[in-house]
Amino acid sequence: MPTDSNAKRSPASGKVRWRRFAIVAVPSVAIAGALIGLTAKGAIASSISVSGQEFLVTASQLNGTGFEQFGGEVPGTNNSQNPVVISAIHHATLANLCQSVTVGPVTLRLTAGGGGNLVSADNLVVDASGQTGSVATFHNITIGQDAGTLTEDPGTAGTPGGFGQQADSITIDNLVQHTWLTTAGTFTLPGLSIGFGKSC
């Protein structure tokens, strides 16, 4: 018998060979580490799409082109509908992005885009229950456009009849959002770090 543990086996079962495990697990973890490292350098874009849990997003500055904003609802806990402000940005760059979500006693915190390496996101859609910023600048803005006819971010529009606004470009300083759902086609996260700690 090749190994000493054979004596304990029951005849009809199998077991895990830990050498085989290591042979596969070690290179896989190495690849995963390389992926994480490349993402942290901003070499690989990630796709982000989270919902169902309110989390906090802050950024020292957001620059975007193709901005739309309109009202909507996301399903919340115990059958309620949470009203949200849906912001869609065709292409956005964010400085000092910080996302944190608190689940029970644990707060998961993700930061990226510090030190001049901006986070960039395409087709960013954020459903927020609240949003603040210190200064916002819009170019070619239309306020009070029907939400169903917004055109700045192709493919995204609200419910016809709803109140909406859009702008060619937008800059928001010190953005703070309480977000229910974030999606982005691509998210480039230079300087990525994920850990547990305080919320943003």
Binding site: N6, S13, S49, P160
Partner: protein
């Protein structure tokens, strides 16, 4: 059962083999579980569990569920399909990888024979989920998939491994009495043949382990290209793409001077939350009615404008534009909004009809949701009343709105935009709002105080003659309105600068 057929069986195993029923000698995952042989359900489950790479499959299933839960929890719990539209391609990858991980985990249980394939597939899917889906479900799903896949890869049934391990080393005299043994012999022969070619089992394992590395390397090479088509619009897997709306409204600020002060009615009627347009047919009186008309909602005209406002001519009607009156209407004091228009239906003045144009900008559509803009003060440069326009409304029909222009407008004193939609108030506040580079404002009602005198204008109370006089005034110097209330504001501006901005409910 006579004796162990392999000489190197340990004593315990020999005993087990002797006492075990005949069918126990075949690997358990190759036969149906015999629940009668076990006392309880737990024991039966344990037997089932031990006879296949259970833990590896379980971890893969958990990883898949976690990947699915992140983008889809809103959809799964409430069936809000609308969210799927926003999730678009990024979420689709997450969903796809999650489903495949669950499938790989389940297949590990019901088909352990092909466990190596499912295990490698699980590892590769876990690695692929890192760039494709929420950083591998915030690392959790990726790690679970790697560990689970490795566990499943490393799992081997005892009988099979024994023989595989022994095969090359010490061929015991095989007995040809049983089918299984015959099969084993074939396997051993195959292994010997492989050894002749120098490909040992260790090499095979390493070559298998290299597969995920190669696949990921290929994946990285293509990820840059794969990400590009996402920016085009709403695409599902890069195949099904929905074209976005074609035309974009181009705000055309036409700064021309003229004042249109309006009366202040603090108790402006509460906007109705219902998005439906009441079929009101406003019958405006030609002279400025001193009583402000309460227009609770968007006053959609029941008759849609001819040709639906598709090709509105912006400058066409401006020659006949009515002009604003700065005259304080005595009856329009605060707190007495009376419906002055409802009394005389059907009398549509000709002057007004001529002034009413289709739409200002193509593609401009007013919302049905009621909205009110309040500001403590508004300083307007080159303010002008351009006339009455019919603006299409998102819920159908058109709406009569006043059109004002200004080269710049500075709102201060706590600017609040309240939108009532579906019974819910969305409040946007900013201490200041600075419109620049030309601004156009459409509104169903504009109220404020000019030098302390309350003024209020609606499309029915706007007087062309008076407003034109006022246009002369306001072209000279900027005017400042205080206590500004604007109903159904639709504003276009080349630039907008806000103060500390807050959006909430």
């Amino acid at each position: 059962m006579t004796t162990g057929e392999e000489d190197e069986d340990s004593p315990e195993e020999l005993v087990a083999r002797v006492t075990a029923p005949q069918h126990a000698r075949t690997p358990a995952w190759r036969r149906a579980p015999d629940f009668r042989a076990w006392s309880g359900r737990r024991a039966a489950f344990r037997a089932w569990r031990h006879s296949r790479p259970f833990s590896g499959g379980l971890l893969l299933v958990i990883a898949g569920i976690e990947l699915l839960a992140l983008p889809l929890s809103g959809v799964l719990f409430k069936g809000a399909l609308k969210l799927v539209i926003y999730i678009a391609i990024g979420g689709v990858f997450g969903v796809l990888i999650g489903i495949l991980l669950i499938a790989a985990g389940i297949m590990l249980w019901i088909n352990p024979t092909h466990r190596v394939f499912y295990a490698i597939a699980g590892i590769v899917l876990g690695l692929a989920s890192f760039p494709a889906s929420n950083l591998g479900g915030l690392f959790i799903a990726m790690l679970l998939a790697i560990i689970g896949g490795s566990l499943a890869f490393a799992w081997e049934p005892n009988d099979a491994t024994e023989n595989a391990d022994d095969a090359g080393r010490e061929p015991a005299a095989p007995r040809a009495r049983r089918l299984r043994v015959r099969r084993l012999r074939v396997r051993r022969l195959r292994v010997r043949r492989l050894r002749v070619r120098g490909l040992t089992r260790g090499h095979r394992v390493f070559s298998v382990a290299a597969m995920p590395a190669l696949l990921v390397a290929g994946m990285l090479g293509t990820s840059a290209h794969a990400s590009t088509p996402q920016s085009g619009g709403l695409c599902i897997l890069g195949i099904i793409c929905l074209p976005g709306p074609s035309s974009s409204p181009s705000p055309q600020p036409s700064p021309s001077p003229s004042p249109s002060p309006s009366t202040r009615t603090p108790s402006s009627p509460k906007p109705t939350p219902s998005p439906a347009c009441p079929p009101v047919s406003p019958s405006p009186s030609p002279k400025p009615t001193p009583t402000p008309t309460p227009t609770p909602g968007p006053s959609c005209s029941s008759t849609p404008a001819p040709k639906g406002g598709g090709s509105p001519t912006k400058g066409g009607g401006s020659s006949t534009k009515s002009s604003a009156s700065a005259s304080p209407s005595p009856g329009a004091t605060s707190g007495s909004p009376s419906s002055g228009t409802g009394g005389e239906p059907g009398k549509k003045p000709a002057k007004k009809a001529a002034a009413a144009r289709q739409v200002a900008d193509p593609g401009l559509t007013a919302p049905c949701a009621t909205s009110v803009l309040d500001a403590g003060s508004a300083t307007l440069t080159d303010f002008a009343f351009k006339g009455i326009v019919h603006v299409p409304v998102g819920c159908g029909g058109t709406q009569e709105m006043m059109e004002f222009t200004a080269s710049s407008a500075s709102l201060a004193g706590g600017v609040t935009v309240t939108v009532t939609q579906g019974g819910q108030n969305t409040v946007t506040t900013s201490p200041t709002l600075g419109f620049s580079s030309g601004m156009t404002l459409y509104a169903t009602k504009l109220c404020g105080k000019l030098a302390g005198i309350p003024l209020c204008f609606t499309p029915t109370t706007v007087s062309a003659v008076l407003l034109s006089t006022a246009n002369l005034l306001t072209s000279v110097l900027p005017i400042t309105l205080t206590n500004v209330v604007t109903n159904q504001p639709l504003a276009l501006a080349g630039g907008l600068q806000t103060g500390p901005l807050s959006i909430g409910f």
